[in-house]
């Protein structure tokens, strides 16, 4: 059954389209499923996008093009060169600009008839309810667990639909949370994974088209919610495997004991989501474990004077191909199985890209009895910055 969202009251809803709008939206207007009535619903709808990155790119572009009357864009980040591989709202000349503002400019150019508001701020427990209250639909296009739980809880408290999408390498998930009889994110995942057990950065990365597909699915669900047409992904988790090019779906149930949306909720106001997720921001720099370190400059000095050092590279083979310090390649994930390849009597310097995985490796090896082992502080990135700029950063 189709589910429709009620537009926020306050401003007087638009009752007609200009001739220019009629021309712009003519391919919608000639569809009976949209028509003038649907197009006016879109024009009167207010959608808030949390994140203007990979998922936010197709979301912003399609929702603006479709004529959603008011779009809010929340992002505190700035456009980075590595974003351009998938965040198709941005151009090369946007690098260094705030994402929310760069996206606003791009969408305003795409559709000058809609209202676009950019919020260059981090979504927090202090501002979420205030930000959300003026919008009909919230779309979650973030990249971290604390914000996902925050978006979910705020949507439940304000009774707003939460159009969810997430991606990992070749796989995506999408669903609609926060509908009256539907489940919420906490019904699906009551707790986040502890930081140590989330997939390591070695396994990160994403194929650029994937957020395009998943974000487009979110855009479609958002438009259907506004139109009140079709079957939404309420109570269904859509799984997309881009490598196998397969869609599957799983049943999601509303958990009556859910701490947020259950019959007796125990969480009735927003909490500290970083504490809840056990992280001070997922991008918290530096190693998670404290281990003995060596700086890139110290390592350079010692190598130049001919010290016998065994360089252990715990990254993945495909990363070794990008750049390397001619170390012995032994990926972190294989360390337990291949630890016998290492000679504990030699002095070992372990490194990865940023120093995080190698810190785990050093920690593990120290526990396994290795005494002469150091972590290269800041990894190959710091080596490139401080010793050899010809080594590319990735």
């Amino acid at each position: 059954m189709a589910t429709s969202v009620q537009p926020q009251t306050g401003t007087k809803p638009a009752a007609s389209l200009s001739n220019e709008e009629i021309l712009r939206y003519s391919r919608h207007l000639i569809m009976p499923e949209v028509g003038m009535e649907g197009q006016l619903k879109l024009k009167n709808a207010k959608v808030l996008l949390i994140g203007t990155g990979g998922l936010g790119a197709p979301l912003g572009l399609y929702l603006a093009a479709a004529g959603v009357g008011k779009l809010g864009l929340v992002d505190f980040d700035v456009v980075d060169f590595t974003n351009l591989q998938r965040q198709v709202t941005f151009g090369t000349s946007d690098v260094g600009k705030p994402k929310s503002e760069a996206a606003r400019a791009r969408l305003a150019n795409l559709n000058p008839d809609i209202q676009i508001q950019s919020f260059e701020t981090q979504l927090t427990s202090a501002n979420a309810l205030e930000l959300f209250k003026d919008f009909d639909v919230i779309v979650d296009g973030t990249d971290n667990f604390p914000t996902r739980y925050l978006v979910n809880d705020a949507c439940i408290m304000l009774k707003k639909p939460n159009v969810y999408g997430s991606i990992f390498r070749f796989e995506g998930q999408a669903t609609v949370f926060g509908m009256p009889d539907g489940p919420c994110y906490r019904c699906l995942y009551p707790e986040p994974p502890p930081p140590g057990l989330v997939p390591s950065c070695a396994e990160g990365g994403v194929l650029g088209v994937l957020p395009g597909i998943v974000g487009s699915i979110q855009a479609m669900e958002t438009i259907k919610l506004i139109l009140g047409r079709g079957d939404n992904l309420i109570g269904r988790l859509l799984l997309f495997d881009a490598l196998g090019m397969k869609f599957r779906e799983l049943k999601l149930r509303k958990n009556p004991n859910c701490p947020v949306c259950g019959t007796h909720p125990t969480i009735t106001k927003l909490i500290d989501y970083y504490e809840f997720c056990g992280v001070r921001g997922e991008e918290a720099p530096g190693p998670t474990v404290q281990v003995p370190e060596i700086t890139p400059r110290e390592l350079k000095v010692r190598l130049d004077r001919g010290d016998d050092l065994f360089i252990l590279d715990v990254r993945e083979p495909h990363e070794y191909q990008i750049c390397n310090l001619k170390g012995h390649l032994l990926p972190l994930g294989e360390l337990t199985r291949r630890v016998h390849e290492l000679d504990s009597s030699r002095e070992i310097v372990a490194h990865c890209r940023s120093g995080k995985r190698s810190a785990e490796a050093v920690d593990f090896l120290r526990k396994a009895g290795f005494r002469k082992i150091l972590n290269l502080k800041g990894g190959i990135l710091a080596w490139s910055d401080e010793v050899d700029p010809s080594v590319p950063k990735y």
């Binding site: 990979g54 990249d143 999408g165 390498r169 994974p193 997939p199 799984l239 799983l250 149930r253």
Partner: protein, 94 residues
């Protein structure tokens, strides 16, 4: 025809890069037991030290969440697909 266990990409590094594995098993718990015996590195990602399935790992038999069936005692029959669905936050974290 045995039970097929689908391994999601975040966990494939701990499962010899495999995307699925097949086992003869009468219950979900048995299938996951076989899986973590074959791929020992997977164990800590799926189970707590006390041997309980971790709360952020969802397991489905076909399209049903085992939390709403008989949890790890949920019976399986030949041809069933067990899916492990870990939470993914999205985006790229470098």
């Amino acid at each position: 025809m045995p039970v097929k266990v689908m391994i999601p990409s975040p966990l494939r590094p701990y499962a010899g890069k495999r995307d699925s594995a097949e086992f003869s098993a009468r219950t979900v718990g048995e299938a996951l037991g076989h899986l973590t015996t074959e791929f020992a590195d997977l164990r800590k990602h799926l189970f707590t030290d006390e041997g309980k399935l971790r709360s952020f790992v969802n397991v489905y038999v076909n399209d049903e969440d085992i939390r709403y069936l008989a949890k790890e005692n949920t019976p399986t029959k030949d041809g069933d697909t067990i899916s492990i669905i870990p939470s993914i936050a999205g985006g790229v974290r470098a």
